[in-house]
């Protein structure tokens, strides 16, 4: 067993040592007994290795990019492989070494099993033996009792002999057993010795194997190390050769380059030498030429120098003379200069004096000016004060006037009322007629008469109205149209009573005059209507909007800022207002005038542009207007925004001049002198003539008749008083009688007067 194991160990080691081939490789094995076969196997292996190498190289060629990587890998690969191989070798070796131990273990366990078995057998045997011997012993003991019973000596001897025999048998059995056991002991001793020997052998073998293993491992480690080193060497060599070739290549390149440089340099040197030579000759020639030329030049210059010297001599003398003259002049000049200086100082003094004077003068005038301005301001203040006072007084006057007026009016009204009352009383009580109250418009009136202008609409109102109307376009137009007739009804109604009672005619007229403003308004409204006929409200509105957009420059920037939060309509209203104030348009009329002007302007422009000469003279203005309206009705055909400014300027040029002319009158009026008292007399007259002449006549006749009636009535009253006094006397008398009748004296009388009385009435 030991031998075979050693052989197998050797084989395994060799196998492990040559582990470079594939273990799975079939065919001739390196481990086979036949040496030829082994050789064949090795050859095959070498061929395979070469092939593998080639393949690797091919692979290297195909993957040239990874060459460096793979090359570094080669050594690593080698290291790894060696490592693997060594691990395998080691494990194999340890396995071999431990094989002995394992074998010993298995033997030991087997021995133990056997021992156990033997032990069991022995125990069994011993037990059997003990049993049988016990039986025998029992037999013997039993026989003892039998023997005791025996009295015959022979019998006893026989029995004793048999007993002895039995005992001997028993002892023999025991001895046999002991002998067997001793044999076993001997056997086991032998075995122990054998085991010991075996173990010693095993140990020897183990040591031997260990040594072999160590030797072999050392050898293979060395081999592997050599191989690894070889591979590294190889790599290094490759690297070295590669680097050397590279290096040489670089060196060669460098050498070539240097050679080339040297050649170039030499060539250049030659060239330069030639050039130098050439230059030198050229320069020499040039030098010669220049030298000759310069020589001649020098000669010429020397001649010139001589000449110049002569002239210099001459000049020097001349100059010396001049110098003397100039010196003289200089002296003179210094004298005059000093004189001039003195003069200058003097004049400077004069100038200073004058300056001082001038300053004084200026100061004075400034003071004067200050005084004057002070005066002016004071006077202005006084003037303002006066104005204020005047206004105050005017206001007070107006107030007092109004108060007086009111008072008087009240009085007069009361009187009128009284007169009317009396008239009514006369009519109703005396004449028995139905009384009708005359229309008294002025009675409703209160306070002094106002000037007409106030009634007129301002431009602002007009605009607002227009804008408002514009909102409700067509409707507004109708309304406006409707306003005209309504306004017209007022005077008609007023005229009615006037026709009825002639006494009131004047009054009616007066009221008509009072309402002149209204009528004029009506007229204007009419004209407005007319305007709206020609220039519709819509167009006017559009115009205004245009104005608002185009004439924005007339609006103050502050106002614009203030307007920004307002609504659009209101904004435009305010803007227009400010524009109109800037342009001087104040009344509605002006507004319409402006609109009209614009229309006309456009028309004229249009006509000018169109040059329609045929219709110009012939067509009636009405037709023209109609046409105009028709042409104007589309709002888009309004005056062009660009023309608005031109039109505006034209308008202001046309219309604002008269205003300017009229302007100086306005301040003199001061807002209160304008009251005309022409209508006052008529008013008061109308008050006084409340009762007409016819009625006065009626009143006269009535008075006379009433006087007569009065006289009659007084007589009657006389008579009534007489009768009343008589009645009173009568009653008094009756009272006295009664008194007498009822007195006590009567009772004492024989015949009482009562009886008489009773008798008397009967």
């Amino acid at each position: 067993m030991c031998r075979s194991e050693v052989i197998s160990l050797r084989k395994k080691m060799s196998q492990a040592g040559n582990l470079r081939e594939d273990t799975e490789e079939a065919g001739p094995s390196v481990d086979s007994e036949n040496p030829e076969e082994r050789i064949a196997a090795r050859r095959l292996r070498i061929a395979a290795r070469n092939e593998a190498k080639k393949r690797q190289e091919l692979g290297d060629n195909s993957h040239e990019k990874k060459e460096i990587k793979e090359e570094t890998r080669k050594s690593q690969h080698q290291v790894e492989q060696s490592e693997k191989r060594m691990i395998k070798l080691q494990s194999d070796g340890t396995e071999l070494v431990t094989n002995i131990q394992v074998a010993a273990d298995s033997r030991e366990s087997q021995r133990r099993a056997e021992l156990e078995e033997a032990h069991r057998h022995r125990v069994e045997k011993l037990e059997n033996e003990a049993k049988s011997s016990l039986e025998k012993f029992e037999e013997i003991t039993r026989k003892w009792t039998v023997a005791k019973m025996k009295e015959i000596p022979q019998d006893l001897r026989d029995s004793l002999n048999s007993q002895q025999q039995l005992c001997a048998l028993l002892i023999e059995d025991k001895n046999k057993l002991i002998h067997e056991l001793q044999q076993e002991i001997k056997l086991s001793d032998d075995r122990y010795v054998k085991d010991l020997k075996k173990q010693a052998e095993d140990v020897d073998l183990m040591i031997e194997r260990m040594e072999d293993q160590v030797k072999f491992l050392m050898g293979s480690y060395r081999d592997e190390l050599d191989q690894i080193e070889k591979s590294f060497e190889h790599e290094r060599k490759i690297l070295l050769t590669g680097n050397r070739t590279k290096w040489e290549q670089h060196m060669k390149e460098r050498r070539d380059k240097e050679l080339e440089n040297v050649m170039q340099r030499m060539k250049r040197v030659e060239e330069y030498e030639v050039l130098l030579q050439q230059l030198r000759t050229e320069d020499a020639e040039e030098y010669n030429m220049i030298k000759i030329k310069l020589d001649t030049d020098v000669q010429i210059l020397e001649q010139q120098l001589q000449q110049m010297k002569a002239t210099y001599q001459l000049n020097q003398e001349k100059l010396e003379y001049n110098f003397q003259v100039l010196k003289k002049r200089d002296e003179e000049n210094t004298i005059t200069k000093s004189q001039q200086k003195r003069k200058i100082t003097r004049l400077q003094d004069v100038v200073n004096n004058l300056k001082i004077k001038c300053a004084n003068q200026e100061k004075q005038s400034r003071e004067e000016n200050q005084n004057l301005t002070d005066d002016y301001t004071r006077i202005m203040q006084q003037y303002k004060h006066m104005q204020k006072k005047m206004r105050h007084f005017a206001a007070i006057d107006a107030k007092t006037f109004e108060e007086v007026w009111l008072m008087n009016e009240e009085e007069v009204k009361a009187l009128v009322e009284k007169a009317l009352d009396t008239d009514r009383l006369v009519h109703e009580q005396q004449l028995g007629l139905a009384w009708q109250r005359p229309p008294l418009a002025f009675m409703e009136r209160c306070g002094p008469l106002q000037p007409q202008r106030q009634a007129q609409k301002t431009a602002h109102q007009a605009i607002s109205e227009l804008l408002r109307l514009g909102c409700s376009l067509g409707k507004g137009k109708y309304q406006e149209a409707g306003v005209g007739p309504e306004a017209g009804v007022g005077p008609d109604a007023g005229v009615g009573p006037g026709a009825e009672s002639p006494g009131l005619a004047v009054e009616v007229y007066e009221s008509g005059a009072g309402l002149e403003s209204g009528s004029s308004e009506v007229e204007r409204e009419g004209s407005g209507g007319e305007h709206s006929g020609t220039v519709s409200v819509k167009t006017v509105k559009k115009l205004l909007e245009l104005l608002c957009d185009e004439a924005g420059f007339l609006i103050e920037s502050k106002l614009l800022k203030l307007l920004s939060p307002l609504e659009k309509d209101e904004q435009s209203l305010m803007k227009l207002d400010s524009i109109f104030t800037a342009m001087g348009i104040e009344s509605e009329e002006d507004v319409y005038k402006l609109a009209d002007f614009f229309m006309k302007y456009r028309q004229t422009q249009g006509e000018q542009a169109q040059d329609v000469s045929a219709k110009e003279g012939v067509a009636s203005p009405q037709a023209e207007r109609g046409e105009h309206t028709s042409s104007c009705s589309p709002t888009s055909d309004l005056i062009h925004p660009n023309d608005v400014l031109v039109a505006l300027r034209a308008y202001t040029a046309h219309h604002c001049r008269p205003r300017e002319v009229a302007a100086p009158h306005q301040p003199s009026m001061l807002g209160l002198g304008g009251r005309d008292d022409s209508e006052d007399a008529a008013y008061w007259e109308a008050m006084a003539d409340v009762i007409p002449e016819a009625k006065l006549k009626i009143w006269g006749a009535l008075e006379t008749a009433l006087d007569k009636y009065h006289i009659v009535l007084t007589e009657r009253s006389q008579f009534i008083t007489d009768t009343q006094s008589l009645k009173q006397q009568n009653t008094e008398l009756r009272m006295l009688l009664h008194q007498y009748v009822n007195s006590r004296v009567n009772a004492e009388l024989e015949i009482p007067p009562t009886l008489v009385m009773q008798l008397a009435p009967e």
Partner: protein, 457 residues
């Protein structure tokens, strides 16, 4: 001078007598002797060197070392005699060179690598071992040992006691020899054959980490007697107490000492909850099931990492006890149960435990009379457990079927690096497959290790 220099090799070659009388001493002829570092031109030695020499000579009476300059110290240490009494040198000299000389002088052959490359440690360990190994109870004075304690306690880390002498036999004792052969260990009367009592030593050794003890006599030769190889109950008791008192012990090895169940239990009882014990080796003893049960108890009441109880008499029940402990254990890395009598009962129990255990890496179950049933459970273990790295099942009759089952289990495993199935009567095919898997695993592990190394670099 050049002449002398050129001459000198010639002078060295030939005996000086053959030369001229002037060159009687070749050294005298030379003005510079370059090869001798001690050489100096001065004829009278320096006072300092004289003093140092004096110190060396009288070191025993007046040990002066620490006060010296470093260069002088080296000079003195080089010249000190290795035979100086330990009382002087032990705690004074730490120089390795000196102790190396001591060791070399005393034992000749020395391998310092197994002593942590410390010559001093080696000297004291071997010295103490020698003293204990030659200690004869009742004859030798315990003071010889105790005297060494203060000198060596700081340097001794391991004690490998390879023999313990019994007391000198008295004539009456020799008569009992016949009895001692056949009689049980318990029958022996105590004091006569008790060995060295470790109790007096271990509790004083504050650096002791390893203790290897064999209760036997080396090289007894033809004087062999059974009672030379006894481990008495009292020995056991004293050893157990000593072990308990030694808190630094990491490795304990008591082998070939006839430790039976009772002694094992005694030892284990004293080792329970030992703070530092990591390795326990009780191989080549007589431990049976009860002892195994005790060991199982110890497993989970200590921090044992390695347990070796090969060549004992542990059977199924004992293995079950160990397996029960193993299932709950989380510290044991290595378990060796070689050459026991576990049988299938024990083998299956151990394998079942391995299904739960997640720490054990190394397992040896060789020579345990296990058969196919164990193999089937083990194949499960191979599939489920991935901490186990090495398993040894040699010398078990697993049979061809068992081999196939193992092969099946192995094919799902990726952690096993070693698997020994020699002499298990498995089929060659299975053997080959298993070795293939193991090799793959090895390669993977190797690769992993390599990459880790590269990463750490």
């Amino acid at each position: 001078m050049t002449a002398t220099m050129s001459k000198s090799p010639g002078v060295g070659m030939y005996p000086p007598v053959a030369k001229l009388n002037l060159a009687a001493d070749p050294r005298k002829m030379r003005r510079i002797i370059a090869e001798d570092p001690e050489w100096s031109l001065t004829i009278v030695p320096l006072l300092s060197s004289l003093c140092l020499q004096h110190i060396v000579i009288n070191f025993e009476e007046k040990p002066i070392l620490e006060e010296l300059l470093p260069s002088h110290k080296d000079y003195v240490l080089e010249r000190l005699s290795p035979s100086l009494p330990l009382q002087v040198t032990a705690n004074l000299i730490n120089d390795e060179g000196y102790w190396k000389r001591c060791c070399k002088q005393r034992w000749g052959l020395c391998d310092v690598s197994s002593y942590g490359h410390s010559w001093k440690r080696m000297f004291f360990e071997r010295h103490l071992e020698n003293i204990i190994e030659l200690f004869i109870p009742d004859a030798t004075d315990p003071k010889t040992v105790l005297d060494m304690v203060p000198l060596s306690r700081n340097y001794v880390k391991r004690l490998d006691i390879s023999q313990l002498l019994p007391p000198i036999k008295e004539p009456q004792k020799s008569e009992d020899d016949d009895n001692s052969d056949s009689a049980s260990d318990m029958g022996m009367d105590g004091p006569s054959i008790d060995h060295f009592d470790f109790g007096i030593l271990l509790d004083k050794m504050s650096h002791l980490e390893e203790l290897h003890v064999v209760y036997r006599v080396k090289g007894c030769g033809m004087n062999f007697e059974w009672n030379l190889f006894e481990f008495t109950f009292r020995d056991c008791e004293s050893l157990a107490k000593a072990l308990k008192s030694c808190k630094t012990l990491r490795v304990l090895r008591i082998h070939q000492s006839k430790v039976d169940d009772e002694k094992c239990r005694q030892l284990v009882n004293n080792l329970l909850d030992h703070p530092s014990l990591r390795e326990l080796n009780l191989s080549h003893n007589l431990i049976g099931d009860r002892g195994a049960r005790a060991i199982g108890k110890l497993l989970n009441r200590s921090k044992l990492e390695s347990l070796t109880v090969y060549d004992n008499n542990i059977r199924g029940p004992g293995a079950q006890a160990i397996a029960y402990a193993l299932a709950k254990n989380s510290s044991l890395l290595s378990l060796n149960l070689r050459l026991n009598r576990l049988g299938d009962e024990g083998g299956q129990a151990i394998a079942q435990a391995l299904l739960k255990n997640r720490t054990l890496e190394w397992l040896h179950l060789g020579g345990n009379e296990m058969t196919e049933p164990t193999a089937t459970v083990l194949s499960q273990v191979l599939v489920q457990n991935n901490t186990l790295r090495s398993i040894n099942l040699s010398c078990n009759r697993l049979g061809i079927d068992g081999g196939k089952v193992l092969e099946e289990g192995m094919s799902h495993n990726s952690s096993m690096v070693e698997c020994d199935i020699r002499l298990t009567e498995v089929g060659q095919e299975s053997d080959y497959c298993i070795s293939q898997v193991v090799r793959n695993n090895q390669n993977q592990a190797h690769r992993k290790r390599n990459t880790q190394e590269i990463n750490t670099k």
